[in-house]
Each structure stands twice: as structure tokens, then as C-alpha cells.
Symmetry: C2
Subunit: 348 residues, 2 copies
């Protein structure tokens, strides 16, 4: 299976509408910044690295039809597009990283004609996608070394093809290990409330020929207790300077359960997910999402009394002490994280 989660096609952003999976594989073409904002908000496109690409393409969508010849005016427009895009979802670092990168590349070329700056922005947005595809393969390569043949691996949410351009971070590691002949057995937490594990990871792992079993999130501890988990691996939405990692709600649960059962817990993420300006997890803003995600089943049947109060954070923070290593495109970062994250990100 060769699919691209997000792409630039016929002068539009083409994404897979992930809310329709696994029932239907539907692509949608997006021409307006506002529609991309909405697609990010309702998670038709999601996953931190894919949001980095969406940010790049979104910046271009926001200015491609803006006519002006003056850099200051253009830059004001660019800044307002950036601010708007950044308001779609708060937690994934890659979204902001993508926006900042485009702002920087534009500023570095501010003496050029606006039409040319626009083309430079588009080219850089495309570079983000190319780099992501490459990074994921490198993450896969480094991460695959952690596995022995026939290892059993547990994951949550979707850090796969559908969270990146075309390969995945946590699931990319599994694909890479499989490609080397280390046949793995994968378990997916279904990942309530929006069920990315059941809908997306089970779907793509199966399509890629990985032996995969779906579990309710509640079954994770029992699975570990029975010795059915050799490694836990997740993606990341934002990693602080000390290694504290924000990821899909439930990831922290898994990290605690893994530690209790002496199962190694790994995070897989590209450089663009790190946020060295944030000292530790307490500084990471956690998105609170609509009650209805929990109070109903995929926005259809209500499952709790109408007046029930709901608490629905989209992410939690995994304390770095519970993380055995962070797999990046430059290798695996181990403790002590404060020092080793800086070292790894600095080296060229």
C-alpha cells in the first residue's frame, strides 16, 4: 500500500479524510485556508508530523492569492495567516514549527519580489513533506534495532502513515523492523475517545501486512501482565527540553503500566516535535476538546445522560523518567535527557 496522508496536488492541499476511515478511504482537496483550519480542528488531518506539513501548505494557501508588492504588507498578511493557523490546535509542536519555519524562510527572502517569495514558501512547504518522509525512514531504521524477531509491541493512537506523510514514526519503526524480517506482533489500544487506534492504526498495520490485534484501552495492563508486550512505542505531540512528552491521552497510563511491568517504553518523533523553549511538561498546553467526543460514540449515539459533566483532555504528559528512549531521525536519545536532547538536536 502506497498512500500519502497529505500532498500538494493541482494547486490544492490533498488530504485523506481520516474521520471516514476505516469505512471509506476518501481524499479531499482543500483550496482555502479556512477549510484547512477546519480540517485540522475536526481531525480530518491529524498527527503531529502531518500537522507540520499542513502548516507549511496552509501558510501558502493563506497567501497564494494575496496581491501586494510591498514586503511589510505581505509580512503582516503572513503573520495573520500564521496566527490563524496556530489557533486550530494547541498541543502538537510540529504545527507551530511548520508555521515558524515558513515565516523564517519568507523573512530571509524579504528583499525578493513577492511573487517569488510565494514560490519559495511553496517550495519550502514541499521540502517539509520530503524531509518528513526521509526522517520517518531514519526513525524507522534506528527504532528497528530495538526489536528482536517475533517481539510483541503495544501502541496507542496513530503514529503511522496517517500521522505523517507516508511512513510513520512509532508505526514506521514497526514497518522498518518487519522489512528487515523481524516479524512483529502488534497490539493497538483503540484510543478513546476518537478511536484512532481502532480506526487508523489497525487499518494501516493490517494493510502493511503486520499481524495486529485491537484491544480496548482498559486491556493494556492485563496484556502486559500476561507477558504479551515486549515493547511499548508511541508517537509524540510535543517534547519538552527535559524529555517530558505530550502525546495522545492514555499514553501516560501506558508508560506507568509499562514501568510497573518492566516493559521498555519508547517515544518516536522527529526533531520538529521538540520544543526546547519549554523546560518541562508542566509548560505544555493541553488541548481540551468537546464533551461530545466522550459523551457520544463518534458523535452519533449518546452514551451518558444529557446533563452529564465530561472532562476531555486530548493529551497527557509522560514524565521523562518513564521513557526509556526517544527515537529520532538522528538516533535514539537516552537519559539524561536534558543534556542528550540538546546534544542530539545540535549536531549536524
Amino acid at each position: 500500500m502506497n498512500i500519502r496522508t497529505i500532498d500538494w496536488k493541482s494547486n490544492k492541499v490533498r488530504i485523506i479524510d481520516q474521520t471516514k476511515l476505516p469505512l471509506k478511504l476518501v481524499y479531499i482537496d482543500i483550496n482555502r485556508l479556512e477549510d484547512l483550519w477546519q480540517a485540522i480542528k475536526i481531525m480530518q488531518v491529524r498527527g503531529a508530523p502531518a500537522l507540520g506539513a499542513a502548516a507549511g501548505l496552509g501558510m501558502y494557501l493563506g497567501i497564494k492569492d494575496y496581491v501586494c508588492s510591498d514586503w511589510d504588507k505581505f509580512n503582516r498578511k503572513l503573520t495573520s495567516v500564521a496566527k490563524y493557523l496556530a489557533s486550530s490546535r494547541p498541543t502538537a509542536r510540529n504545527l507551530f514549527w511548520g508555521i515558524e519555519r515558513i515565516l523564517a524562510v519568507a523573512a530571509a527572502n524579504k528583499t525578493k519580489p513577492i511573487t517569488q517569495i510565494k514560490q519559495i514558501i511553496l517550495a519550502d512547504a514541499k521540502s517539509i513533506m520530503r524531509e518528513d518522509a526521509l526522517s520517518c525512514r531514519k526513525i524507522g531504521y534506528y527504532g528497528s534495532k530495538l526489536f528482536r524477531k517475533n517481539d510483541k509491541v503495544l501502541t496507542i493512537c496513530n503514529a503511522g502513515i496517517l500521522a505523517t506523510i507516508d511512513y510513520g514514526t512509532a508505526l514506521g519503526v514497526i514497518y522498518s523492523a518487519q522489512a528487515q524480517g523481524k516479524k512483529l506482533e502488534a497490539f493497538c489500544c483503540e484510543t478513546r475517545p476518537l478511536l484512532q487506534g481502532a480506526r487508523l492504526s489497525a487499518w494501516e498495520l493490517h494493510k502493511q501486512g503486520v499481524d495486529v490485534t485491537l484491544i480496548a484501552d482498559n486491556t493494556a495492563a492485563k496484556l502486559m501482565q500476561e507477558g504479551k508486550v515486549d515493547v511499548v512505542i508511541t508517537g509524540a505531540d510535543r517534547i519538552a527540553a527535559n524529555g517530558d512528552t505530550a502525546n495522545k491521552i492514555g499514553s501516560f497510563n501506558l508508560a506507568v503500566l509499562a514501568r510497573y511491568h518492566k516493559v521498555p517504553f519508547y517515544v518516536a518523533a522527529p526533531k520538529s516535535t521538540f520544543d526546547l523553549k519549554i523546560k518541562d511538561g508542566s509548560g505544555i498546553k493541553i488541548e481540551m476538546r468537546k464533551d461530545k467526543e466522550v459523551a457520544s460514540l463518534l458523535f452519533k449515539r449518546e452514551i451518558t445522560p444529557k446533563n452529564a459533566r465530561v472532562l476531555n483532555p486530548a493529551f497527557d504528559i509522560i514524565p521523562h523518567q518513564l521513557i526509556n528512549g526517544i527515537i529520532t531521525e538522528r538516533g535514539i536519545i537516552r537519559m539524561p535527557y536534558i543534556r542528550n536532547i540538546r546534544r542530539m538536536l545540535r549536531k549536524e
Copy 2:
């Protein structure tokens, strides 16, 4: 709100159809053993103590129209009814306890006329219900002492009115504390796959005037991390001689998370849930339920590829080391459990 989960009315077993909650409060009357078996299987009636009552009434349903005058023949019928009822669900001890109790009371009266033995069986089945109502209030009384005013309590599944006759074990403790003026704040794990927390506990806690918030099961660790949980309390389906406790899948997760966060974890259950013939948790049979419970949302919309493999155990085992105390109708049992469980169950 004054409701009864299971009752004997107009010569029939009257239960609340819990699969319809919280959308509708519907009672159904059951006249045939086979229909009760089915109601237990598909969890129209569920909850370990309620299953103890269902067992008693089910035994009567199974023999009430059986005409014979010979004890041996009657006893063979009774034994086959027992075997059939016992095949409905394997994990909750109370179901078997109820069946065994009826078999014993019948045997103790075997010299009496069959018509009279039938009446003795019915009377004993009614006793089970009366005793449960009383036990739950005592559990509530002992358990309530564990709470301070304004404590925040987290629970999973439903160990409330709807799991017993009319009061609850884990939720009974909350009701009792509230009645003493210790206003509590409750959090319910939604409890995938069948969502007893969202559908049943959020419903009855709200009806009883308890301040309740629903969370996805994945949010438990974050909630504890934020200091929003003072106590975790769950029911139990079967407790082994050493205190290892089978309860709804996800309970073990909570116990590990609670220990990591230094939050006390309590189990609330009547004597009828203990199974001293089983040495430890490894001897407890865990019910495996249909894939469809996880692979779809309440048997409606499919949420994973059709060919996805699913693992769906209904329960997990909480190792006794993670349990701070077991609240029974005779008081709270503390470590060392092997000794203290025997002592508590023995005393009259």
C-alpha cells in the same frame, strides 16, 4: 430515586434492562429460565451481587413448573438447572454462590414435600435480595469512614444500585458518605467496551445527587497526576483467598496508576464475592467476550476493519499488593489478606 435492579413481582423476575440505559429506564419481566440466562449473558442484568440474586430467582424459575414428587428426581432437575445457569457467565463469584446456596437449602430440606421445597427455594431467593440490600448499606457505612469531606473519588464500571439490589457496593460507599454530609466529587471511567461507567454509573450518581464527571478510561492517569483523585474505589467480581481481585477490565490499570500516584485503592464487595477455594488470581477464570463489543460502538457502527483481530477479556485481576483494603459488610479487610480474609469471613 428509589429503584430496584432485580425483584420478584407477580410470579416473575423483574429486572431493569440495563442495555437501554441511560436513554430509557425499561423494566422487563422474565418467566422462563432460558430468558433469564440470556438476560445475564447479554448483560441486561449484570453486577456481581445482582447476579447472586439472579441466581437465586433463576433456580426457582427453573423448577417452579417442574412436577414430581420424588426428591432424587427433583434434585436431578435442580442440578441441571444449576449447571445451565452457571454457564451464563464465568467470572462473578456471586452467581455461583447463589446457585450453591439454593442447592444447599434444597438438600437440607429434602425430606419435605417437593411443593414445600419449591417454596423454601423461593423464600431463600428472596432472602438473598434482602441480605444484599442490608450488606450494601453496611459496606456503605464502613467504607464511608475512609472519606473526608470534599474528597474526590474515581471509580470504574458500575458497582452501584444497578449492580446490586438497590444501593451498591463501591457507589454505596459514596452514597453513604454523602448522606453523612461528606459531599464528594465523583469521576467515572466510561469503561469500554460496554461503557457501564458512562451509561450506568454517571446516570445513577447524578440521580442520587452526587457531583459526577465522566472521563474516557485513558484520562485516569492525568486526573491522578493533577491531584484530582483522593481515593479509587471499585467493586469486585471474585476475590481469591489471598485478596487478588477480579473486576471489570481496566481495574488493574487503575490500581497500578493509583499506586504510582500514591492514591489509595479500595475494593468494595460482600462476602458472597469471596472464593476461598481459589488460592490466588491465577485461578480465576476470566470471561472472554465477543469481538464485536470492541470492534463496534455498542454493536452499531463498526470502528475497525472487518477483518481486524480483537482481544476482549471482560475482567482483569488486581494483585492484592495493589489493594489498600477490601470493604465488606463486616468491616474493612487489610493486609495481610490471606489471614485477614479468613478471619473476617469466619467471624459471626
